[in-house]
Symmetry: C2
């Protein structure tokens, strides 16, 4: 990577390493100068497949990536999203254990990322505690979110989960732009199930649905439901 290109992304690096200005600054800067490559990726591109091994490691600068896992039967569920300033814990996990990916990563929007080859990153891990701490933090947050997901999927009612999801995804016009199909994937169920759930919500007057769009009407009721206060 050229020095100029690094300078262009040096601000972005700070979002990964807020402690960048310390003793190890030089090591890390030099590392990225030597090994990092700035890549741009279109929408709906597979970054990695189920069964791939991990060869390049991405530091996401722009866009979002969804990480999905699928069963043998074809049903899928969204494990988490990677946002700017984050990395993929799965990549980390695979890198450290030299395993295959147990999931698929797909860009949801056009993305920019810093890409570094895994072997060099492993060497860096042995030298810099800051990098280590960065990865620890990353893991730490994601473990918590994965456990939350397990609770939801294994123990919560579907209507509760749908309500939560809608509230989480609504914009400031109280709208969610998503197809039933996509919502089903995120929640880990089938489209028909979502369709029916939304229809009963609509019958209750809680939401209004259009093609590809859901408008939340009775936000408070949905909030109550999302916290399990309802039958």
């Amino acid at each position: 990577m050229t020095s100029k290109a690094l300078n262009n992304t040096i601000d972005s690096l700070n979002q990964f390493f807020p402690v960048f200005q310390q003793e190890q600054q030089h090591i890390i800067q030099q590392y990225f100068l030597d090994h990092a490559r700035l890549v741009e990726i279109d929408k709906d591109i597979n970054l990695f497949h189920q069964g791939d091994s991990c060869e390049n490691y991405y530091f996401l600068l722009q866009g979002t990536v969804k990480v999905i896992t699928a069963s043998s039967q074809g049903r899928e569920i969204l494990l988490y999203r990677i946002k700017p300033g984050e990395t993929c814990v799965l990549s980390t996990s695979c890198m450290i254990n030299d395993r295959y990916y147990p999931a698929v990563g797909v860009t949801e929007t056009p993305c920019k990322a810093l890409s570094v080859p895994v072997p060099s990153l492993i060497k860096l891990l042995e030298r810099s505690t800051i990098i280590n701490q960065f990865f620890l933090h990353n893991f730490s947050l994601r473990v918590a979110s994965l456990i939350d997901l397990i609770c939801e999927v294994a123990l919560e009612r579907l209507d509760v989960r749908v309500a939560r999801h809608l509230l989480q995804k609504m914009d400031n016009q109280h709208e969610v732009s998503i197809t039933h199909d996509a919502l089903a994937l995120e929640i880990g169920t089938a489209r028909e199930v979502i369709s029916r759930q939304l229809r009963t919500f609509e019958k209750n007057g809680w939401i209004v649905t259009k093609r590809g769009k859901i408008t939340l009407i009775q936000i408070d009721t949905l909030k109550q439901l999302s916290q399990g206060y309802f039958s």
Copy 2:
């Protein structure tokens, strides 16, 4: 901790830090000398509750601990087991982010562990890359297992999951000593559901059930089922 007590557990420490004999050996040994306390814990003791903050960190030497999370409705699911030579990623996660536990930890057998206060461990993390790498490995393995669990819970049929579980837990007499209730907790469903599933397995001649014990008869059939080859 006295030097003698440390010597008693220094072999155990090696199972955590196989690279113990290197440059940082002195730092880590000294750390455990200064801060670690050997604790013995009875069976069925809660190490931490949902909502606790993390004050002591355990390195498990003997016994097993199950980590369970519960919904508001009271249903529970087993997230993972901690075995000797392991630590609790949840503790790590809570320690690093200064969060509350999203789950419960209960000893399944009498346990021995090294206990260290969290603040001191955080300081050690800033000095030793070996400790960092240890935690990274730990996280890394657990993330993979959590993702597997999500796949199972969200996407797999119940009979497949029960079959897998039985195969995993059987001893070399092809027996599993467990109550339906406990099995239900591990799989994240209700006892009645497990009872019915086992009964149909038994009708098919795949297993024989006694009170508190299940004997697997047609192992191959169960293996096929566990891999999803069956309807």
